[in-house]
């Protein structure tokens, strides 16, 4: 026996099925945390171990940023509370990978913050790729990030290591009296050697001859043998592509053994608080490069400018912020900027976030943020020189950010 389906019954059934299908396809997962009115950030840092001091700066920056937005963030036009889950990865890439999986699967974070160090960031990127998550990071400068994950999952806020010294070398090539010979100190690590190789090529392109190179084992702290090897050779400028510890020991030994230089490029760590505290007056006339200084007058979303950002940060945490702090704040600020106009139904959709990040071109706390097709932020380094008494880092190049002029000739080891 058969029964004909009435038109009304058919429409009711079709409507219910359609609604069911629509609800089934609806991105409920995207609202896992948002359901509770919370946007959940997560990440891991080397909170203990060798990199603890840098990790602390990132952690402080996250806390400071979240406090400065009163724990609220606009996502797709609606305001949510902000939650942060941060783990200690001990700079161990295996642990970073495990913690990233935990953040995604157990903690159900909505957004991931980059770790610190090449290997942890690569490990984190691999997990983000597996789960099709976006990662914004400022902890690894290596090109490997671009090649393996760039713009697909990972967006990087620091320049590649090979461009760190370019601006300063270009500037030094115009010095009068001229820099004719260069010595390069680097460390036995692929990223630092990448920087040294690029610095060497740039020097030679600009007509400066590299007459001395010293590759230091990673545990080196005593630069006396480097300085003694330099003595007797005519070296006009020394470029350090290594850590701040290397620069500190180099300056200490170079003054002791009366090395004569026309210029010293202390590298990307020249503004580290450790150098200021330890070397003090001896920093005078030393050049360096950095991504950021408060005086660069960048334009944070929630502060008048980077000077106000710097002052408030120092008041809150008791130390002057360096570029790591700005980077930490920039990670959150960039997410905020992207999510503000996100589709409220699926705000964390990786494809949509990817497109939004690639389209970003905005002045923020860290400077002008825009990415190339490899997901790498396009930016020039700022050239600084320690000037005054007591010496302070002064941006001398590029002209749009400059706070003062280069003092040259000036003895970088006379402080």
């Amino acid at each position: 026996m058969t029964r004909r389906i009435k038109r009304r019954e058919f429409l009711q059934t079709a409507g219910a099925a359609g609604l069911g299908m629509a609800l089934g396809n609806f991105p409920w997962k995207a609202f896992g945390a948002l359901d509770k009115g919370v946007v959940h950030f997560g990440g891991s840092l080397a909170l203990t171990g060798t990199y603890a001091k840098v990790a602390k700066m990132y952690k402080d920056a996250y806390e400071f940023y979240i406090e400065s937005i009163n724990n609220k963030m606009v996502v797709g036009g609606r305001t949510y509370d902000v939650k942060l889950t941060l783990y200690d990865d001990e700079n161990n890439p295996t642990k970073t990978a495990q913690l990233t999986e935990k953040l995604i699967n157990v903690d159900k974070v909505d957004l991931l913050l980059g770790a610190y160090g090449t290997d942890p960031v690569l490990a984190q990127s691999a997990i983000c790729k597996k789960y099709n998550r976006i990662l914004i990071q400022g902890g690894a400068a290596t090109r490997r990030v671009d090649e393996e994950y760039g713009a697909r999952n990972t967006f990087t806020l620091v320049s590649t290591g090979d461009s760190y010294h370019t601006t300063l070398i270009d500037l030094a090539s115009k010095f009068n009296p001229p820099i004719k010979t260069v010595g390069i100190i680097t460390m036995d690590d692929p990223v630092y050697q990448e920087m040294a190789k690029a610095a060497k090529e740039r020097c030679e392109k600009e007509g400066m001859k590299v007459v001395f190179e010293d590759v230091l084992p990673m545990n080196t702290t005593d630069l006396s043998s480097t300085v003694l090897k330099m003595k007797g050779r005519q070296i006009d400028m020394v470029i350090n592509t290594g850590w701040d510890k290397i620069l500190a020991s180099f300056v200490n030994e170079a003054v002791k053994y009366k090395l004569k230089l026309k210029a010293l490029d202390g590298g990307h760590a020249t503004i580290s608080p450790f150098l200021k505290e330890s070397l003090g007056k001896r920093m005078k006339n030393i050049l360096g490069v950095t991504f950021w200084l408060p005086e660069a007058k960048t334009k944070p979303l929630h502060f008048k400018d980077s000077i106000e950002f710097g002052k408030k940060f120092q008041k809150r945490f008791g130390y002057e912020p360096d570029y790591h702090v700005a980077l930490g704040a920039q990670l959150l600020e960039l997410y905020e900027n992207v999510l503000k106009g996100a589709n409220p139904k699926d705000p964390f959709n990786a494809d949509a976030m990817r497109q939004a990040l690639l389209k970003t071109d905005k002045d923020m706390v860290y400077g002008r943020v825009r990415f190339n097709q490899k997901g790498r932020m396009m930016s020039d380094m700022l050239v600084i020189q320690w000037q005054g008494d007591p010496p302070k880092p002064v941006i001398i190049y590029p002209p749009k950010n400059a706070m003062g002029k280069l003092i040259y000739p000036s003895d970088p080891l006379a402080g």
Binding site: D188, L216, P217, S249, F274, S278
Partner: protein, 289 residues
């Protein structure tokens, strides 16, 4: 070349200053203290803190060394004494754990930044000898280590206290039966160890940047110095420290990047040929009853 050898000798003097404490504790208490490097780093960080607070740098070193010796005594009294009679392995694990805890505690107390103490008129001072410049700090460290060696030589050879300490090192039980207060002598040994290791750290912070994680390096280097010199032999410790200082410095000049490899290959060869070290002493762990 001779100039570099002389500089290496001066650098080796720091290893000697740091290594003697390790040697004394190994020889007398019969334990391998894996938190020894912490004494060194703590000496450096305290010296830095006092000097930055405006205290005379030399007084800062003395004050720091004294505090390190108090710290050394405290960990001996509260932790090491409780397990050393049971098993050497437990002492190893305990001191390793103490090092980790101390490192993190120092991070909280001092912050995680590195330290290098630069004081006008101290760090850069050199003395001209044989037509070459020698840094006064490193030269001073050598003179001091020679003086400290003289002190130890006199102490262990000619004083009743030294005799008691040697007796404990030879055989703790017989020393106890003979009426020697072993615990009290342990206290003295630990104070000596903490003081000289802290002082080595205090001097070193003028020469190289120090960070909280270097304690492992200094523990290993002190262990190495003692093994090469012959465990429990203070003269052997001095000579091996100087040899290692020269070797590391020459290799950093002529074979940068291979310093550690050269050092450990030579150590390996030495262990094959003379496993007791260059100058073995009877005050070694294996012979303790």
């Amino acid at each position: 070349m001779i100039y570099f050898i002389l500089l290496g000798i001066m650098k080796g003097a720091i290893f000697a200053l740091a290594g003697w404490g390790f040697s004394i504790i190994l020889g007398i208490l019969g334990i391998v203290n894996f938190s020894h490097g912490i004494f060194f780093i703590l000496g450096g960080y305290l010296t830095f803190t006092f000097a930055k607070a405006g205290i005379n740098p030399w007084l800062s070193i003395l004050a720091a060394s004294s505090l390190v010796s108090v710290y050394a005594l405290a960990i001996q009294q509260f932790f090491i004494n409780r397990v050393m009679a049971r098993s050497h392995m437990m002492v190893l694990v305990l001191t390793l754990g103490l090092a980790i805890v101390a490192r993190e505690a120092m991070g909280l107390a001092f912050g995680y930044n590195e330290r290098l103490l630069v004081i006008e008129g101290v760090n850069e001072r050199t003395v001209a000898l044989f037509g070459n410049e020698f840094p006064v700090l490193e030269a001073g460290a050598f003179v001091l280590s020679a003086a400290v060696f003289g002190f130890f030589f006199y102490l262990f050879r000619y004083t009743a206290l030294g005799l008691r300490l040697r007796a404990i090192g030879e055989n703790t039980e017989i020393a106890r039966i003979l009426g020697i207060n072993v615990r009290w002598n342990y206290v003295f040994a630990m104070l000596l160890c903490g003081f000289w290791t802290g002082l080595a750290g205090g001097l070193t912070i003028f020469v190289i940047p120090m960070d909280l994680h270097q304690d492992i390096y200094w523990t290993v280097m002190c262990f190495l110095v003692v093994i090469v010199g012959g465990t429990g032999n203070l003269a052997g410790t001095f000579i091996s420290a100087i040899l290692i200082g020269v070797l590391l410095f020459l290799s950093s000049i002529y074979a940068r990047g291979y310093s550690d490899s050269i050092l450990y290959v030579l150590l390996f060869l030495l262990m094959l040929v003379k496993p007791t070290g260059l100058f073995p002493s009877k005050m070694i762990v294996e012979e303790r009853k």
